[in-house]
């Protein structure tokens, strides 16, 4: 018996990788997947070589290179990251591997922290990948170890599909030691790894043959199991976290076909199970992936006709959908709590940028991107008209400028993204801004870190995943290299409101691509936070006239009470000085820190 630990799904995946002899790991951070690589780096250094990649495609290619070269490897990403990485993944399914290769897709049903809730199980049949879906942390560990075996046995990348609730839930895992899996000797195999049409044709045939073998395996493997209950009238087919909700609701009143290997689907096993039950339920989150397969086999289960296709499930939703029993009434107060949306932190450098943008909305159309700064779309700034995906902030503006011009709208598109997003795919976008000569403003909000996902290093951070100094890529040098002329580049501190305003005005007045780089590190970076410790702004109540101008920057550290402003949260206030700049009566001053 191994040692018992309480691990999140992400921690258990990291643990399983290590135990399985994985040697190379790469990822681009994205909730809910980020902690996989963080844990690999924190706990298994020396055994697994980990690195943040510039984007998910690069991460997959790093890991794939290692796998072709003979080392067991892993690439982890959130669901939308797999779209970015799809190109190498689809062809890697033809070429196969030398050492085992696992691709983790962490989906986000319920959109806790995402721009969509795409169901990446569809990628498995589409890209022809064997897919595993664990239901808790213990299975995360066990399945990822199995994934390496399957990857090598069937010569394929394995899609390891998890969801937010699996990644971020903790449960008990029995752990063991590391198996030393030697790196397989790399041998040149152009027939396998050089995907010229002639070779790819052959590999596609081999893939289809291997998938047929894999389906035979899936019918009788430890990942797909029937849990029979005596006298059960109900048969439930399920996978992932939905299995837990199913058991919670039906207990011993149902029998279960719990599927862990969900591509290729075990059609014989499904047929055997489904034909035994008059009442057949398929319980799954989001799309009817399993249900469609069950229907294709000639059965007519209850599924998405009753269970919502939208958002996350839980036991109550499943119970109400399938049994009609409503949730227990809890206690109901006759007052609702006010909404508490996430906000930019006190001292956040993005605040100065968005306050300024919000003042110029009559002359610009702001196009956004994915990061903390997406919070700038919320009230009171409303400083973002569009948010689609990473990198789009600097490319959508090229088309927007054309469309606005065609309808005689004189506003200028202002695209924005963060430093990490710029490195992710935004550089490509800026190249097209430059070569097309688009009459737009491109803003790069450089806070020196990948903030929203929990402060992962990026190519501009000057540190690697281990916190060690690494080469730092300079954003402004790239902007110059792309060919934006010096007179149309501005590098400024976004907390200087006058300068910020002037720079956007310059951008509006310019003819041709104009780039603004705002530079100020995130206040949550440990060294930065230390620098601000003990610093805060203070309102002189005698001078405060209650005009509420300082409230317009929407800082969570300042409140308006009894007709006066008050910086009530001195712990989180960093004395960034935005409220001080807003005050026309000199009522706000910085306190603490050096020289006071």
């Amino acid at each position: 018996m191994g040692e018992k630990q309480i691990l999140s799904g992400n921690e258990a995946i990291a643990r399983g990788c290590w135990e399985a002899g994985c040697r190379v790991a790469a990822a681009y951070p994205g909730t809910p997947s980020s902690e996989i690589l963080e844990n690999i780096a924190a706990h298994y250094r020396g055994d697994i070589d980990a690195q943040w990649a510039g984007n998910e495609k690069v991460a997959v290619e790093i890991a794939l290179g290692a796998a072709m070269g003979g080392a067991r490897s892993i690439a982890a990403m959130k669901h939308v990251g797999m779209n970015v990485a799809a190109d190498p993944i689809f062809t890697a399914a033809y070429s196969g591997v030398t050492g085992g290769f696992v691709v983790v897709s962490a989906d986000d049903p319920g959109l806790h922290s995402s721009q969509n809730e795409q169901d990446n199980r569809h990628y498995a049949p589409h890209a022809k990948l064997i897919m595993l879906e664990p239901s808790d942390s213990a299975e995360c560990r066990e399945y990822v170890m199995g994934a390496y075996e399957l990857s090598e046995r069937f010569d394929t990348p394995v899609l390891f599909r998890v969801t937010t609730r699996i990644c971020h839930s903790k449960s008990i895992v029995e752990v063991a030691g590391r198996t030393d899996v030697p790196v397989k000797k790399y041998e040149k195999r152009t027939d396998k790894f050089t995907m010229l049409p002639v070779n790819a044709k052959n590999r596609h045939r081999i893939r289809e043959e291997l998938l047929m073998e894999a389906e035979e395996y899936a019918n009788d493997c430890p990942y797909n199991r029937v849990e029979e209950s005596d006298d059960a009238q109900i048969g439930v087919i399920t996978s992932g976290v939905s299995y837990q909700y199913s058991r919670e609701v039906f207990g011993e009143d149902a029998s279960y076909l719990k599927l862990g290997l969900t591509y290729p689907l075990p059609r014989r096993l499904i047929k055997e199970f489904a034909s035994k039950y008059e009442r057949l339920y398929v319980i799954e989150e989001n799309d009817p992936y399993l249900e469609d397969a069950v229907r294709a086999l000639g059965f007519d289960p209850v599924g998405k006709d009753r269970i919502p296709i939208l958002y996350e499930l839980d036991a109550q939703i499943v119970r109400e959908a399938l049994t009609g029993e409503p949730a227990d009434e809890g206690y109901i107060a006759d007052t609702a709590a006010p909404p508490r949306p996430p906000v930019m932190c006190a001292g956040c450098p993005h605040r100065g940028f968005f306050y300024t943008v919000s003042k110029k909305m009559d002359r610009i159309v702001p196009c956004g991107d994915i990061g903390c700064y997406t919070l700038g779309a919320s009230p009171p700034f409303l400083g973002m008209d569009t948010t689609i995906c990473m990198g789009s902030g600097l490319s959508t503006i090229i088309g927007f400028e054309k469309a606005l011009r065609m309808q005689g709208d004189g506003r200028k598109p202002l695209g924005m993204l963060g430093d990490s997003t710029f490195f992710h795919t935004g550089i490509n976008s800026l190249i097209d801004v430059a070569v097309s000569g688009a009459n737009v403003i491109a803003a790069i909000l450089d806070n020196s870190i990948t903030a929203m996902t929990g402060h992962q290093q990026n190519p501009g951070s000057g540190r690697n995943i281990y916190g060690e100094p690494s080469p730092s890529i300079d954003v402004v040098s790239i902007v110059r290299a792309i060919g934006i002329p010096e007179e149309r580049i501005r590098v400024i501190d976004p907390l200087d409101l006058d300068a910020m305003s002037r720079v956007i005005d310059d951008g509006i007045a310019a003819d041709g691509p104009f780039v603004i780089v705002t530079r100020r590190p995130c206040v949550l970076i440990r060294e930065v936070a230390r620098e601000y410790a003990g610093m805060y702004c203070e309102v002189d109540a005698d001078k405060c006239v209650g005009c509420r101008m300082c409230m317009k920057v929407a800082c969570p550290a300042i409140a308006f009470r009894d007709g006066k402003a008050e910086v009530f949260d001195r712990v989180n206030c960093t004395a960034c000085g935005l409220c001080e700049q807003m005050c026309k009566f000199g009522a706000i001053a910085k306190r603490g820190g050096q020289g006071s």
């Binding site: 806790h112 058991r247 839980d314 007052t335 929203m452 409230m551």
Partner: protein, 198 residues
């Protein structure tokens, strides 16, 4: 601890950055040590930035679902008053609601677009359950470390929910930063005594 069949559910609610996750780690480790199956679920990501946060812990002989539905929490621990009000529909009939009387104003309140429920505790009581009100944030600040609020609440929970057959102190030592162990043990002791104060 009273023996029980089935599963118990504890819901922790607060505002991003308040340290709900640390005490849920301590609780889960304690329950595991005691031989229970445990699941804990928390959602982090965007909500870290000052939004509402919840952590769910379920323990018992065998736990399937990691989440707690409406009317299913045996205990709710609220780190903030308005969050207690928000979480109230999750409290099981006859369950225990422990809440700090601490107030953190959401952005819509700060900008004047929404009103803070200063009377949240009275409203909760009027709904039919008497909350256990703990001045955890105030106590922690008085002890010299505002971050120890969570451990004061842990102490209050241990008393209110009869969890004193688990040895919590070694777990607190293990999970809080080394230099803060003293203050946190003090905070725990004060929290344990707090039921009598309400």
């Amino acid at each position: 601890m009273k023996e029980f069949k089935g599963v118990h559910s504890i819901l922790l609610v607060g505002v991003g950055g308040q340290g709900t996750i640390l005490i849920s780690k301590i609780l889960s480790a304690g329950f595991m040590q005691r031989g229970y199956d445990v699941k804990m679920s928390e959602i982090h990501g965007m909500s870290q930035r000052g939004g509402s946060v919840t952590t769910q812990i379920r323990y018992g002989d065998k736990v399937y679902s990691p989440t707690i539905g409406l009317g299913e929490a045996n205990v709710i621990i609220a780190f903030e008053k308005a969050e207690a009000l928000r979480a109230l529909p999750y409290l099981k009939r006859g369950g225990i609601l422990i809440t700090d009387d601490h107030e953190i104003y959401p952005m819509p309140v700060l900008t004047g677009d929404a009103v803070y429920p200063y009377d949240a505790l009275e409203k909760i009581e009027a709904s039919g359950t008497k909350p256990i009100v703990v001045k955890a944030a105030g106590t922690a600040e008085a002890l010299g470390n505002a971050r120890a609020q969570n451990i004061v609440l842990l102490g209050a929970l241990v008393t209110a929910w009869n969890l004193d057959d688990i040895d919590w102190e070694p777990l607190i030592r293990q999970y809080v930063p080394a230099k803060a162990v003293g203050i946190n043990l003090e905070a725990f002791a004060v929290g344990k005594g707090m039921r009598s104060m309400v």
